[in-house]
Symmetry: C2
Subunit: 338 residues, 2 copies
DNA sequence: TTGTAGGCGTTATCAA
DNA sequence: TTGATAACGCCTACAA
């Protein structure tokens, strides 16, 4: 049986009120009393009951995040880093982190959000893996529920977000490849509804265009943000009669599979075939060969998102923040050989 | 303003009691009334307030998991898979999943558990990354709080757990290496307090012994379960005057760094140097070359843990279950060349 | 400086 | 079959 504030009060022969005020740092309580209360509370092992507290001040001090489970098995270190960031920053602000899993756009996903909102289970939510038209944005914005996103959907609402300009940075990868002399550059993407795909693909196309290279639909293949997807897409590309000399992947995970496929098929990555990723996942620092990629500070982005969300929830900051994050091009042996 | 049960009642000119009973499937309510209630509830968008509900029946229908953040940045796909499993299975049983982050053994970790227990925030917790002597086990067992673990600490309490017999399976890796002719086999481990290290290291030593190989302390190096740790450990091993011909790593993440270091130093992995991992992380299927490893079904293990925990919480199953999971040795090119 | 009383949204007990 | 009422643990306006 957990000790309640009542137990503490009885133990000290004080009223519940006084104990509550002593614990919550009110001024109108004798210093001596406060000390006695604090001592007793800690001795008895008192911890406020969260449900009761929530019921009073209508805030759950909880942030929600739904892990988008599109792949058969979610095994992307991106999410480990992301959740670690969400967790750390939440703790820092005295918030709890509620996590659930659901496939994007699924029934379950909708129910989860509904439950969280209407049941007042969370005070705000963090979204990523945005779609071009994202029902979550519409739903949350219409219900005026606090949320922040990584990347923005195209929905015409104002809301807080962190953006990375995937288009521009993917363009830099293409610049890099072109500067190495590549003229047949392939792209492995993913679900075209995803904002990250749209941005990065636009960067790909823009890059080709900027260098006067022709767009060849044969060189554009769809993966699924897994290494398996990359593996199969690469096999397809590399068995073309006129295969590409470079493959730019929508993310590191995909690139991982491409590295494997290419080498298995006898290519020397970094010499006669260049491969690039995108994300700069910490756990992928040691691919073989190391991957040229755009490094995105996933952990700090997650922290930033939570910080922005908390500001919104507590009303500390008026209006919606739109943050741009600078990324870093990391040139490694997967494009420049050794 | 979210709609409460009171709103539904007023809307229908019924009492709160009746609405509550209709919603909760009690028998003593007229079928017609029930239909009206259900219809109104759904139209008004009623969702029960979780805090209020919790306060009544003392269960939060929530499971807790603390992500052990020992590394500078947590970037191991193991945890993405693990959390995905926890999330999926929790949903299936109508539970929420509360996640937080803390370094093992830290102040924050202790506070988090205390808060969860005493504040009745969660009904049970899932533990992994067990220590040989794990304060969490002692604390939870003494407080008779429901929990399940992946691997068991040495603490003398009875509790539910899933085990994989890392010792035996690591031994099979050694058998495999020996059968390939290796006689100088190195081991890269991690914090000796960790149960997975102890088990796998015991498997290493047992394996050597079984084949009459001498144990050479020079060949045992400490990593930190990151690819960076593996990278540096491998450099150390491979610059020995008499380097090993095989390196068995405590996990896949470490092995990833070893693959990189070895190839950078000019070794041909699978030919003149064999490397093995442990975990069989889905996201690491496509390392270069593919890694010989012990495949552990992380996702299903996580599901199983939640299932067991829920059984414990709901009292559906008496006693504590001790489940043994069979693993699979996956032989790939990192040991058998091509 | 301390105590009394009422209420947050539900569910359970008891009476009608 | 339905409704009034109390209670869960906490906080706070108001009274003492």
């Amino acid at each position: 049986m957990p000790v309640s504030i009542r137990d503490v009060a009885q133990h000290l022969n004080l009223s519940i009120t006084t104990v509550s005020r002593a614990l919550n740092g009110y001024e109108d309580v004798a210093e001596e009393t406060r000390q006695r209360v604090l001592k007793a509370a800690s001795e008895l092992g008192y911890t406020p009951n969260r449900a009761a507290r929530q019921m009073r001040h209508r805030f759950s001090d909880t942030i929600g995040y739904i892990l988008p489970e599109d792949a058969p098995r979610l095994s992307d270190p991106f999410f480990a880093e992301f959740i670690a960031g969400l967790g750390d920053e939440s703790v820092k602000h005295g918030f709890e982190l509620l996590v659930t899993t659901a496939a994007s756009g699924s029934q379950e996903e909708q129910q989860a959000y509904r439950k969280w909102l209407h049941g007042r289970e969370v005070d705000g939510v963090v979204l990523n893996r945005m779609h071009l038209n994202d029902w979550r944005v519409q739903y949350l914005a219409q219900n005026k529920f606090p949320f922040v996103t990584l990347e923005r959907s195209l929905d015409p609402y104002d809301y807080a977000s962190v953006e990375t300009n995937g288009r521009q940075w993917f363009g830099k990868l293409i610049d890099h490849l072109v500067s190495l002399g590549h003229r047949r550059i392939a792209y492995i993407g993913t679900n075209p509804e995803l904002k990250i795909h749209a941005d990065r693909f636009a960067g790909y196309q823009g890059g080709l265009h900027a260098h006067g290279l022709e767009y060849d639909p044969q060189l554009v293949v769809t993966g699924d943000l897994t290494s398996d997807g990359g593996f199969h897409a690469a096999r397809q590309l590399l068995t073309l009669p006129n295969p590409p000399t470079a493959i730019a992947c929508v993310d590191d995970m995909t690139a991982m599979g491409v590295l494997h496929a290419a080498q298995e098929m006898g290519w020397t990555v970094g010499k006669n075939l260049a491969i690039t990723g995108f994300d700069g996942i910490e756990g992928f620092r040691h691919t073989q060969p190391p991957l040229t990629t755009i490094n995105q500070p996933v952990y700090s982005i997650a922290c930033r998102l939570v910080e922005m969300l908390v500001n919104q929830i507590t009303g500390k900051m008026a209006g919606f923040q739109h943050v741009q994050i600078e990324l870093v091009l990391e040139i490694c042996q997967s494009t420049v050989g050794k």
